[in-house]
């Protein structure tokens, strides 16, 4: 059996290939083209050392420094949001502590007119994309289901029903393609979400319609309490790509440089008409699923401790410091920027937002039905009597 690879043919986001060739003189085979690297791509190791990779170049120092700043700010956002939950200012927060390299890379590889489709876990990605942090936290503080205009930053609402947003991403890309727009869509999901039917349907639709979507799975090893081995016995999540006829790649999700390089290539390839791709980022959920979770019931602290030395910030700081790209003053400036974001969050969440009960009926339909008009009047009447 041969596998058709759609219009264009570039192997893991790089070299061209012959889709059905068997021998090396004909170019790589479909398997070689679509299967991920033998090991997760790593460009900067845990001790901050550069690891050469033929296929994925190291981003330049300036790009790394700029992304590093976002990494530090992202960590601060996670810490601050956790604190706000503890203080009762926010109902719940799914932290991406430890996953910030994935979050930052997902946001910065996109152009302004591209689209990002995030999940509940991806607050840092959404803020990094430029969305007002208070708008982002509206969902989690409980004022409304979403607090920003998806069109302003081409960032969809944070999806809670697992994997459903992947299909929306395909639809946005499909519409863009039909109109001849050069949009790329990056869609996020977790390892657990890859078991959902919508994950399968989204990847298949994306491949069949050959639309520019990059699927990024943050494999943080857990879906609440359930470890990855209960989700799949596939060799890796990235291997699933070949089943849909698209390339898959796996990458060290705690390596900012590798994330930028691999995702950047996938995005470029999609923009050039190369079609969709699947990227699996190996990372780890360092904290509880949310504040409501008790991880001691399903994993040992020693397992978590093993990931501490692999932290995305530490290694990038070492790497950039060794190259003298990150000076003490620069480090201080970045810490200041992170504090500024944190205080924006604190100030915003410490003030009580105006809540308008009439909004309940305002956005169900473009025009209220007669039934909703009656119900709105009923509530308004109750409230006016309460106030009287």
């Amino acid at each position: 059996m041969t596998i058709s690879t759609g219009n264009s043919a570039n192997n893991q986001f790089g070299e061209s290939m012959k889709p059905t060739g068997r021998s090396s003189d004909q170019g790589p085979t479909a398997e070689e083209y679509m299967l991920p690297s033998a090991q997760p791509v790593q460009l900067v190791g845990p001790s901050g050392e550069h690891i050469h990779n033929d296929r994925y170049p190291l981003p330049d120092g300036e790009a790394l420094l700029s992304a590093y700043e976002k990494l530090v700010v992202g960590r601060r956002i996670n810490d601050q949001a956790n604190a706000l939950v503890r203080q009762g200012r926010m109902a719940v927060y799914p932290s991406s502590h430890g996953q910030e390299a994935c979050q930052v890379a997902a946001a910065v590889v996109l152009e302004k007119d591209d689209w990002l489709f995030p999940t509940y876990r991806d607050t840092v990605a959404v803020i990094t994309r430029g969305v007002d942090p208070l708008g982002v936290l509206t969902l989690l503080r409980g004022d409304w289901h979403s607090g920003y205009d998806p069109y302003e930053y081409k960032t969809a609402t944070q999806a809670t029903p697992l994997a459903t947003q992947l299909l929306h991403a395909v639809g946005v890309a499909h519409a863009a393609k039909l109109r001849g727009e050069n949009t790329v869509v990056l869609a996020l999901c977790g390892d657990g979400a890859t078991s959902e039917g919508d994950f399968h349907e989204a990847l298949n639709f994306a491949a069949v319609f050959h639309v520019p979507v990059v699927f990024l799975v943050q494999n943080n090893e857990y879906a609440i309490s359930v470890p990855l081995k209960h989700q799949t016995v596939a060799p890796s999540l990235a291997h699933k790509a070949i089943g849909y006829g698209m390339p898959g790649e796996r990458v060290d999700g705690n390596d900012l440089a590798a994330m930028l390089s691999v995702l950047g290539k996938a995005v470029d390839r999609a923009r050039d008409g190369g079609g969709p791709a699947l990227v699996e980022a190996h990372t780890y959920r360092m904290q509880a699923h949310t504040n409501a979770d008790d991880p001691s019931r399903y994993r040992a602290q020693s397992d978590v401790d093993e990931w501490v030395p692999k932290d995305p910030i530490t290694r990038m700081r070492t790497y950039l410091g060794n190259l003298n790209l990150l000076t003490a003053e620069e480090e201080q400036r970045i810490a200041g920027a992170a504090e500024e974001t944190a205080s924006t969050l604190r100030d915003g969440l410490n003030s009580e937002p105006e809540i308008n009960p009439a909004d309940l009926f305002e956005y169900v339909y473009t025009e209220k039905t007669s039934q909703l008009r009656e119900q709105a009047a009923l509530l308004a009447d109750e409230l006016s009597r309460e106030g009287a």
Binding site: W144, H145, S146, D149, P150, Y151, A156, T157, P161, T164, L166, L167, H168, A169, V170, G171, V172, A173, H174, A175, A176, L178, R179, G197, D198, H200, E201, A202, N204, F205, V208, F209, D359, E362, Y363, V364, Y365, T366, T369, S370, Q371
Partner: protein, 357 residues
């Protein structure tokens, strides 16, 4: 989308119809013409689903659309209903008006999560920033001798979901007008097409219909409006979709026995037209609601409650229901026991406490 040459070959008949003046038109052709006219009027209208391309859909509602408008605007998808619905959400977010076909009522269930969690809620979630102008067409209900999974009356699932607009035409004329209105509607519409009516015919002037659909004064007017399908004075039969012809037949039979029954065609399940229904029942003082779906916690149950709440002082008898039994849709040889029939309707009308009048 693959090989155009191979795949567009089979549709030789033109989509829609270009004939003018009075002409016999089937329900199916009226829908097909509405789709073609909507696509002609607005390039962002696109159609996709299972077998809707060269085949024209299993009921031929999309017949000829691929040939006429091209594969980019009417195309087959992989066989996955959640995928179809989810992709429609994204396309609607990004400037398109997707009109998707679910092959049969019961095969729309895999799309349920997308419908309930996103189609219905996205505009609310974003305070109206994201509108989803899309139509989910569903060939629905029974009376066609279909085997299991091909005859469900699934309207209650949709009408119970705030955010969805749910329409069910019962005449050829409404098939055209309501589908045009649905496609132009700013919010997502679940469009229920009674399968057993696909082959019914009316003689209609398409030019007049088109004028009505396009004229600013009348466009959109079918959404949220019930109509009096037959005037009467003694009692009101309230029906929608596949039950409307049955209700009309019952009214005809009752007239022969000297009883004058009004028939209301609800048309728009959401928004529901309390005004038209209430006005009729206040006039007649008696009402029977007719629907194919199982009656428990159903649209019929809701209508009974609404009529009772609003017309209590005008009622001469309890509001009654003739619905499907509370059982899974029966096998073909048993469906006639299940479906509301003229006799069952007349029996119920007979029980409306006439002796007290």
């Amino acid at each position: 989308m693959t090989d155009t040459a191979v795949r567009s070959g089979s549709a030789e008949k033109a989509a829609g119809t270009t004939k003018t003046g009075l002409q016999p038109l089937t329900f199916a052709k009226a829908l097909n013409t509405a789709l073609a006219d909507a696509m002609e009027a607005d390039p962002s209208v696109i159609i996709f689903g299972e077998d809707v391309g060269p085949l024209g859909g299993v009921f031929r509602i999309t017949d000829g659309l691929t040939a006429r408008f091209g594969e980019e605007r009417c195309f087959d998808t992989p066989l996955a209903e959640s995928g179809i619905m989810g992709m429609a959400v994204g396309m609607a977010m990004n400037g398109m008006i997707p009109v998707v076909e679910m092959q049969f009522d019961a095969f729309a269930y895999p799309a349920f999560e997308q419908v309930v969690s996103h189609v219905a809620k996205m505009p609310n979630r974003t305070k109206g920033k994201v509108k989803l102008p899309l139509v989910m067409r569903i060939p629905y209900a029974g009376g066609i001798g279909g085997v299991e999974h091909h005859c469900d009356s699934s309207e209650s699932y949709y009408v119970h979901t705030p955010g969805l607009t749910v329409l069910a035409p019962a005449t050829v004329r409404d098939a055209y007008l309501m589908l045009r209105d649905a496609i132009r509607f700013p919010d997502p519409v679940v469009f229920l097409e009674p399968k057993k009516l696909y082959w019914t015919k009316e003689t209609l002037d398409l030019d007049e219909l088109r004028k009505e659909a396009d004229d600013a004064a009348t466009a959109g007017s079918t959404v949220g409006r019930a109509v009096v399908a037959r005037s009467g004075t003694d009692a009101t039969l309230i029906a929608y979709g596949p039950s409307v012809p049955t209700a009309l037949a019952a009214a005809e039979a009752a007239a022969a026995e000297g009883r004058s029954l009004e028939v209301i065609d609800v048309r728009s399940l959401v928004p529901f037209d309390d005004e038209t229904v209430t006005a009729s029942v206040r006039r007649t003082g008696r009402a029977v609601v007719i629907a194919e779906a199982p009656g428990f916690a159903s649209v019929a149950a809701e209508i009974v409650a609404r009529v009772q709440e609003r017309c209590f002082n005008s009622l001469a008898a309890p509001v009654r229901r003739v619905t499907g039994f509370d059982i899974p849709y029966p096998a073909p040889k048993l469906e006639h026991f299940f479906l509301p029939s003229v006799d069952r309707i007349l029996d119920t009308v007979d029980e409306l406490q006439w002796e007290d009048a």
